[in-house]
Amino acid sequence: MNRIKFQYIFFAFAIFLGATIFLLYHNFLETEKYIQKLILQEDLRELRQTTDNIKRHLLRIIPPHIDFYTYLQTHPDVYKDIQKDLELFIIDKYKFIYLLEPVDKDRFRFLVDTSRNDRASFGELYTPLEPQEYHTLSPHYFFHKELKNIWLTYINPVVEHGKIKALIVIDFSLEQAHLIEKSLKTLENFLSGLILFLSGLIAIMVLFAYFDYKRERKMVQAYEKLEKLNKELEHRVEEKIKELRKKDAIILNQSKLAAMGEMINMIAHQWRQPLNAISVSAINMQIEANMGLSNPQSIEENAKMIQQQAQLMSRVIDDFMDYARPEKKKERFDVKEMVEEVLKMIEPQLKNHNISIVLDLAHDLYIESYKKDLEHVLLNLLSNARDALDECGKEPKKIIIKAYKEKDRIKIEVKDNGCGIPKHIQERIFEPYFTTKEQGKGTGLGLYMSRKIVREKLKGDLFFESFDTGTTFIIEL
């Protein structure tokens, strides 16, 4: 919007500049006319003074009531003196200074001629091009249009009793005035050219500004449209996030339920042996009682056995309760111990599936993290390895758990010697609800949740390498 305002200022400036140039040009033309007029006025003033001086001089020399022609004819010395006197007035500007006497309407005769070249003789008849201009009783001037205005003829008559006795004529050269006029014309042409150039420049600039304004308008409109679209998009993204959060909550819930089911399954495995032992002790007690063989010692032994097994079952419950408890704070723990604790929960089940465990855990591998979450992930990976080995059917079944440090990163590997993950599903195994297990056995949330926990909470990564010889899941922290 600021740019559009700038363009308005620019337009105003261009108009102001144009008006200034116009006023400047107009003022120049007026000044030019004024100078020309002033020069002419000055020249005419000078001519008037000169011819008046000549007139006074003539009237002083030639007595009144005698015509000039007769007097000069009879007084050749006076004629010569006048000629010499008039010669004194000759300068470059005064091309010809001469005295004429009217003969008739069209013709005059020369009385005195001071011209250096083309000097007329005394009494020589003369027919000017504009004879009517010479019949004047007051000073008069005219331009010679037929001679391209190179002269101005100034006539100052010597009048006596309303009759022209003589005409003092000066052919005044306009060369100097023309030179000034030419210089002014050159200046005017330059100014015209400059104005034309500036006008063109202003026109181009205005045109450019106009197109820029239009482009800017379009851009602003596009920006507004984009902003609207962006807001719509933001709204849609927000809606989508809300939806995803809802979905995540559902997934989390489902994941929890799945984990709970897994836990119950494990507890069931853990409890099977002590329940058997309790059952055996109870059966022993019943048989001994039926057979009358029961004695306090055997009862005590069986009771102790039942008590021990019950305590074992209780510990199992404690262990799982401890595992299931939500964790809010990080803690420093030994990775080896953590792995062993997880194994304590799942090992009986693995043994039940004829799966051997190989441990390759580095000593004193401490980490500060969320232990329960890591246990949860590890337990999930081990469960998956178990199911994969069962599904593959290769014997002997083996899971190798490795924990080590590499370039300041702790890595925990869970490697099985199964058949590997088929290539066409490798890209999808971390997607939610994706499972290859038979219906009712897997939720498809285990790996999805495990990666989410590792990436978002533990700030690490979970990835895998899979070949025909087995799959390795690697937790990198």
Partner: protein, 124 residues
């Protein structure tokens, strides 16, 4: 440029003069065809065969054109020649940049009698 300019000026001058002599000379001489004697530089003025015949001898001419000394009537080209030579009947020259045509009545009448009324205004 100068070489081009000078002939053009001369030519323009000649064209004006040519018109003048074509109109003026038959009126002065009272003949339809005028025998003219002049210097070679003015020959182009008299190339109209229907009005002029250029003659080689001054004495064979009706009118001499130019400031040439001859016993025949002369039409001069300067005021000095016009005012001094007894055989000059008229002249054409420039004075103060203005063209001047003058006819000397005394000499004219001696050779050709009366002057055409249209030329009276130039008579002296």
């Amino acid at each position: 440029m100068i070489l081009l300019f000078v002939p053009l000026v001369l030519f323009a001058h000649i064209v004006g003069l040519k018109e003048l002599v074509q109109t003026l000379f038959p009126l002065l001489v009272h003949k339809r065809i005028v025998k003219v004697y002049t210097s070679p530089s003015f020959f182009p003025l008299f190339d109209d065969n229907s009005t002029f015949v250029l003659v080689e001898e001054c004495n064979q001419s009706d009118l001499v054109f130019g400031d040439i000394n001859c016993s025949k009537p002369i039409f001069g080209l300067s005021y000095r020649f016009f005012s001094t030579h007894p055989n000059v009947i008229g002249a054409f020259y420039y004075r103060k940049g203005r063209p001047q045509l003058v006819i000397k009545m005394k000499s004219y009448e001696k050779y050709f009698g009366h002057l055409d009324p249209s030329l009276q205004r130039y008579a002296q």
